[in-house]
Chain length 438, copies 2
């Protein structure tokens, strides 16, 4: 029988009732052997996530050496959960120890990791599974980057001796023995790492929605749900803002060619979204699988006569960005023109001016000007661009809504067309594309 | 009264009758003070251009030290022209001297330049204008690049003392005193240089067509003629293959903000195409000014997970191209994908393989593959991309013709949309776009 690795998100683990529900799901299928949990999320709109409270604790520890103000709220939540679950975990002692360590270490990563840590201990007891701390098996290298191959070997080895286990998501340990977290939402990555290491037949990622939607439901009412996605489509949609799954969680499972099933903890009977490696993937009926986008890009426009004859022109422009550690998203070009599309957030505090100065020095452009407040929208679907008429449909839809297309980029991926529009046209643009390909 | 600089192309100067006609045009307007001439072109389809014969002469001179075989044909043409014009130029002596020099110098640039040289002498005598050899006034620097500012000063100075002059196009002199030519069609550049230096009110470029057509007449029957073009539109159309005017001739006149008028020597009453600096340019009725394109590009497609997180990824890819002196035309990108669009002609003799090897070493891509036989088509028009619906119309037109769009690039120029299609779809694509915007 194949092994399933299940990851449960914060809303699925927000209180005792939710945890009871999760336990029922896990125990209903005994191939669900490895469980990765997030920290308790929000129980209602006004609630604060445990992880946010923990970051606050660390700030207090750094400033006053005492995090008790925020930690008291954390204590209350966990004690309530443990009591409601009639847990035999000595949660109060563990909490006391945790508070001391937060005050002592003053490490943001350590503090943040404790939400998952505590939740995993409670969950392991509830399920009568073994608790295995991911600090012992998920490794980061000397540069603070996740060390995928060492981790894979170590996790595989360690889990051999445990048929059933609960593991905290979100963190591991670096070479100096310090706790190090992934970026926010990183429990998705932990689950994917475990799934790869145990060569799971399926990685179930349980959350509070029934999978991926074809576009943002805050923009389009009741968008179509996506039944099947390829890894690549997922990667493109995630990168461009679809936020069900952490965009980096794809890499471990891709290496192991393991399907991911996004499931709804509160509607476990629904099929959710299945994410498949290309070997298993067959294109479904829709030309466009999904639409995702992000606002707030800045476009630096460079014009120079005979630019194309100047060998290394673009390379020199890009070297300026690199010098200041700035990434670019796209580089559309015309004759004698080159545009750099950059996340506006990375150009704050005079960085834009510094970059412009650098470009002036490096390539002496004839004109150099900036367009701000650009939103990028990716329309994604396998074989989409090789399907005749996709671009026509897309741009006709934008035209009929009077949307001015600022830039277009369609490269080799045959998987997406990216358009740039004014921030103010973003929602209208997503709606128009969705409607055109419904 | 303003000064006009006139350049006459090869077909306009192909024989005595044509030259008589040109003389009439020049003398009909006494503001036509500086005349730049090409070498005699073809008199009929089977004819050989003088310049081609001169390159052949140089080959003979290099191989046998004697170019008389091909030079005899040149002699016949010029003697015929001089006789028919009843010219008092001692053309036979000049030809004899020229033949000796070709044999002695064995310089391809020198040989090629003699067509314009001889024609200018004959034309100056015909008009009773002064002959001024451009070898004395158009300068190239130590790297063989045109030295625009030194030339501009020198031409301005030298022409002050000549109210009326004929100058040979196509060439100048380098720092070592050797004749150096521009690329083929370079008499257009000479004319533009003279126009700038004398601060002409107009640069008339006389050729055998009545100006620019909205697209290639070999593809679309009787395409619309373009009445007014901006410098920028001209540059984009020329770069992408519209061949009425040498693409580099724009730079000198742009500096001087001098309008260019493309005129037909054989229909001098027609208005031709007026090319204006942006200060003088007002958009006419057509959204799309023109369509131009080129076949035979190769696309190198690079895929790598998390490429966008890898600072300097694109810069390193481009450094490989630079190392081998290869220019790229466009670099469309998706998420985790990057494509390089390169002229196929520059990737011959194993260069493609060398580049692929270099990219592999430099950035270790996950996938690396090549798409060949791609044609690029630029649809050009001022303000086109800010005109709502242009992209929709364009791509709908391609869809209705079942054309598969391989890549799209629309950057900041607001002046063009570039699409990539299979070579085999090239003509169909141009026709479809022309029809859509007729």
């Amino acid at each position: 029988m194949g092994v399933k690795v299940c990851k449960f998100g914060g809303t699925s683990m927000a209180d005792a009732a939710a945890i009871e529900n999760v336990a029922k799901i896990i125990l209903s299928d005994n191939s669900r052997r490895y469980v990765v949990v997030s920290a308790p999320g929000k129980r209602n709109k006004e609630d604060i996530k445990i992880t946010d409270l923990l970051y606050e604790c660390n700030r207090e520890a750094v400033e006053n050496g005492d995090c008790s103000k925020s930690f008291s709220k954390i204590k209350t939540r966990y004690i309530e959960i443990a009591n409601d679950l009639k847990s035999d975990v000595d949660i109060e002692s563990i909490l006391e120890e945790t508070e001391k360590e937060i005050n002592r270490l003053k490490s943001s990563d350590f503090a943040a990791s404790r939400g998952e840590y505590l939740n995993a201990i409670i969950m392991a007891a509830k399920l009568n599974f073994k608790f295995i701390d991911t600090a012992e098996i998920i490794l980061f290298d000397q540069n603070g980057n996740f060390d995928s191959e060492s981790t894979n070997a170590l996790v595989g080895e360690k889990l051999k001796s445990s048929d059933y286990a609960v593991l905290p998501g979100f963190y591991g340990k670096d070479r100096n023995g310090n706790i190090k977290t992934f970026s926010r939402g990183g429990s998705d990555i932990t689950g994917a790492i475990i799934a790869r290491a145990v060569n799971a037949e399926l990685y179930e990622n349980w959350t509070d929605v029934s999978g991926f939607l074809a576009c943002d439901p805050r923009i389009v009412e009741n968008p179509r749900q996506i039944a099947v996605l390829s890894y690549k489509e997922l990667r493109e949609l995630s990168y461009m803002g679809a936020s069900v799954l952490h965009s980096e969680s794809i890499f471990p499972v891709r290496k192991g060619k393991i399907p991911i099933n996004i499931k709804n903890t509160f509607k476990p009977e629904e099929k959710g979204t299945m994410i498949l490696p290309s070997e298993m993937y067959h294109k479904s009926g829709n030309v466009v699988t999904g639409i995702a986008g992000k606002k707030d890009f800045t476009v630096i426009n460079i014009e120079k006569s005979l630019m194309n004859n100047e060998l290394g022109f673009a390379r020199r422009v890009l070297s300026v960005l690199e010098q200041y550690n700035i990434s670019f998203e796209h580089m559309p070009s015309g004759i004698d023109t080159l545009s750099l599309v950059i996340e506006t957030a990375t150009l704050q505090n005079g960085m834009l001016e510094t970059i412009l100065e650098g470009i002036k020095k490096e390539v002496s452009p004839t004109y150099l000007y900036v367009t701000e407040n650009i939103a990028l929208i990716a329309t994604v679907g396998h074989g989409m661009t090789s399907s005749v008429g996709t671009a026509g449909k897309l741009f006709s839809a934008l035209a009929s809504e009077n949307i001015n297309v600022k830039l277009i980029d369609q490269g080799s991926s045959e998987l997406n067309i990216i358009v740039g529009v004014d921030n103010s046209d973003y929602e209208k643009c997503v709606r128009a594309i969705y409607k055109a390909f419904k």
